[in-house]
């Protein structure tokens, strides 16, 4: 069936709510309104107000309540209306949810999913454009995923809901309705911790995730005559699928890392460092990162385009590295 990225997310929640009576959806406006972006449209009507629950405007409360429910055996999906506000629930996530299993010697789990719209490109200004995934990649006990396709959006969300550990699920609002994709009618899962090889190539590896996957794929197609690009979509950012990354680096010897989150302290830094350490003798050029400039994402379209990676910057970075 042909679905949008956001419809894939809605279907995943709908199916899991139907499959497992312990699954809940909690968040601001997720019920009556069906979510600010309509990701949960119709779910309260179908599954009831005690399972699709409108919450007060307090992310700390949403996460904290979710953790308590999870300890008691429920599997809550906790929606952040914009992922920018996940920082309001930061303490509950990193000090409570992420440490539960550890503090209890493995005797308890914390099966929550925290999901919400991330990313820019939609002129949302600095409170509605953030990509804060790197904060959570620093925290043991969490899993972090960032799907780029409708297929992965659905399969990864279903896997996240079934996972016994807290999973932070970054959906990209730029992709919500810009992507339409054929996905299987029958049920499927996408495993957490496995990257996707989007395109094979010999000259240069581009490692990316989320929204830039599509711009990178376009660059790979457009530049096919001059450089044979291999594209890896990480999909899961914690834990990263190092085997796939290293196998590709060993093949091509050149790596460009592209993400929409800021450069400084971004996921790309960790990927670059690991490659430099483990694949040094295979490198045929510097490990290059292309990311957002280290400023807050501006509202003005021209400035936003200046700050975020775009098609032109990706093409330029690939060309430069290929020539090295």
């Amino acid at each position: 069936m042909l679905v949008t990225y956001i419809e894939a997310i809605r279907q995943a929640m709908d199916e899991e709510l139907a499959r497992d009576g312990n699954v809940l959806l909690m968040g601001e406006d997720v019920g009556v309104m069906g979510g600010a972006f309509k990701a949960s449209a119709g779910l309260q009507e179908k599954h009831g107000a005690d399972r699709v629950v409108d919450m007060p405007i307090s992310e700390s409360l949403i996460v904290g309540a979710g953790v308590g429910l999870a300890v008691q055996g429920m599997r809550p999906i906790l929606e952040m209306q914009f992922i920018d506000f996940i920082s309001c629930g930061f303490d509950q996530i990193v000090n409570t949810a992420a440490t539960l299993r550890y503090r209890h010697g493995g005797q308890t789990a914390c099966p929550i999913v925290i999901r919400g719209p991330s990313g820019g490109g939609v002129h949302g200004g600095l409170y509605h454009s953030q990509n804060p995934e790197a904060w959570f990649c620093h925290v043991p006990g969490l899993k972090v995923v960032a799907p780029a396709t409708a297929y992965d959006a659905k399969g990864l969300l279903k896997s996240a809901i079934r996972d016994d550990d807290p999973v932070i699920y970054f959906e990209h609002k730029f992709l919500y309705r810009r992507i339409k994709e054929e996905i299987p009618e029958e049920e499927y899962l996408v495993p957490i911790g496995k990257a996707a090889l989007r395109k094979e190539g010999r000259d240069l590896t581009v490692i990316t995730y989320g929204s830039p996957v599509h711009a990178v794929m376009k660059a790979a197609r457009d530049m096919a005559a001059e450089v044979d690009i291999e594209v890896i979509d990480l999909r899961t950012l914690l834990p990263i699928d190092w085997a796939t990354v290293k196998a590709s680096v060993r093949k091509t010897g050149k790596v460009l890392i592209v993400h929409e989150a800021r450069l400084n302290g971004g996921v790309g830094g960790e990927v670059a460092a690991r490659i430099a350490q483990d694949c040094f003798e295979e490198l045929d050029g510097p490990v290059v990162r292309l990311a957002a400039r280290d400023v807050h994402t501006p509202f003005a379209p021209a400035m936003e385009d200046y700050v975020l990676p775009n098609q032109e910057k990706i093409t330029e970075a690939i060309r430069k590295l290929a020539a090295y």
Partner: protein, 444 residues
């Protein structure tokens, strides 16, 4: 003609930069792209190359000064006739305005605060690369070590003439052509007098046999070495002068192998003897790590992975493609890979990747391989096996405690090992083990 050297825009956000130091002086002759000065911006540090060949006519900016993009930094006289030392009337630095009058008054800078100065924390910048210095990347360094390449002979196509992985692959694919080999290509029978001079490089001369002028006698044919021939020659001389070869031989009863072959043939699978020896060697190498090694300087590198290189004869010469992770392959997989290499080697479709990274070698001279031979080690490896002719012979075996004479297909298996790193016990033990595996006939 006087042309301007201007401050380039080094990145979209950069509006100005600091001149760190000049690398040239007024009056100096420069080639196009010769580095003129170093500048530092809040984004990047860079050398500014000369836009043209010529003589430095004027230098307009002092080190330490901040200049906006597009500002003129220097002037170059491109007309060789007019090129002469700097004019006497070069503008003077004005301490009060901190600028050159009419040129670069500091106040003419952009109306934004200056970026933080980049303190030159690094030691003085290295001088322009000396001739012969090669810029490479880590993977190129590794490939050069593996193949014993002289990188100064490989033209670099990367930025700043960097030798890239592709350059090395292209070099290997062309058979490692040196300047000498290229010079003689396409001249099948040059006259003695017209023979090109030997290469000037000392490195090549010391490795390759001396090139004496070809004889000019009537009827003689002078066949200049092809690039691949030259590489083989260099490699063989180097191996013989590098490694003290010890050659040992095992007499192997191949009747169980022959049995497996016969059974496979009934199933329609054609197996040669070679895959069996490769299979047995991989197994024995796993048990004898010192034989699966390379030499690097004054160290022995015991290789984690077993990649056996198999010699393949082609019209152009000998090629040695590599079976990756040979110890993880089944007999059938080895057989298929060997057949595939054989077919592709003949059509010239082996990629350079497939020729590198071997950790041990096996050579099989085939049906006309004679009784036995003494193979030369494939550097930087430390061991090689050679299959001899398989001949039916009467041999004495033990049958129920009684000596009996039977007819068996026998093979002399030759092995060379590098006595620098391997002593007799390990070397002999390895070959003995290969024999045991072949005679046991268990290839599952």
């Amino acid at each position: 003609m006087l042309i301007d050297v201007v401050m380039p825009q080094l990145g979209e956000s950069v509006v100005e930069g600091v001149v760190v130091k000049w690398l040239v002086e007024v009056g100096e002759l420069v080639a196009k792209d010769h580095p003129l000065l170093e500048i530092s911006t809040d984004k990047v540090d860079a050398e500014i190359p000369s836009p043209s060949a010529g003589r430095i006519a004027q230098i307009l900016v002092k080190p330490g000064e901040t200049v906006p993009i597009q500002a003129v930094l220097a002037k170059i006289e491109t007309d060789p006739a007019a090129a002469r030392p700097a004019p006497e009337e070069a503008p003077k630095w004005d301490e009060e305005t901190e600028g050159f009058p009419g040129h670069m008054a500091r106040t003419s800078g952009p109306p934004i605060p200056a970026p933080p100065r980049v303190e030159p924390s690094a030691p003085a910048p290295s001088p322009p690369p000396a001739t012969g210095r090669v810029r490479i990347t880590p993977v190129v360094a590794r490939m050069a070590a593996e193949h014993g390449l002289d990188l100064s002979k490989i033209p670099g196509t990367g930025i700043d003439g960097r030798v890239t992985r592709k350059d090395v692959e292209a070099h290997l694919a062309s058979g490692g052509a040196s300047s000498f080999a290229k010079a003689t290509e396409g001249k099948p029978v040059p006259k003695a007098a017209a023979a090109p001079a030997p290469p000037s490089s000392k490195a090549a001369a010391s490795r390759a046999p001396k090139v004496s002028p070809p004889p000019a006698a009537e009827g003689d044919q002078v066949v200049p070495w092809t690039p691949i021939r030259k590489r083989i020659a260099e490699h063989m001389v180097r191996s013989k002068t590098t490694s003290p070869h010890v050659h040992i031989f095992a007499e192997v009863d191949m009747h169980r192998v022959a049995g497996v072959r016969a059974r496979a043939k009934k199933e329609g699978v054609n197996l040669t003897y070679l895959p069996f020896v490769i299979y047995a060697a991989a197994k024995a190498l796993r048990e004898t790590p010192i034989m699966n090694a390379t030499v690097s300087g004054e160290s022995t590198v015991l290789k984690k992975d077993i990649h056996i290189a198999v010699a393949v004869d082609t019209e152009k010469g000998l090629l040695v493609p590599v079976l990756r992770h040979t110890d993880r392959m089944s007999l059938k997989e080895i057989s298929a890979a060997v057949d595939d290499f054989g077919a592709r080697a003949k059509s010239g479709k082996i990629s350079p990747d497939e020729l590198s990274g071997g950790t041990f070698s096996i050579t099989n001279p085939g049906i006309k391989g004679n009784l036995f031979g003494t193979p030369i080690i494939n550097q930087p490896q430390v061991g090689i096996l050679r299959l001899g002719q398989i001949v039916k012979r009467p041999v004495v075996i033990d049958v129920d405690g009684e000596d009996s004479i039977v007819i068996r297909p026998m093979m002399y298996l030759g092995c060379a090992y590098d006595h620098r790193v391997i002593d007799g016990v390990a070397g002999n033990g390895f070959l003995y083990r290969v024999r045991e595996i072949l005679e046991a006939g268990d290839f599952l």
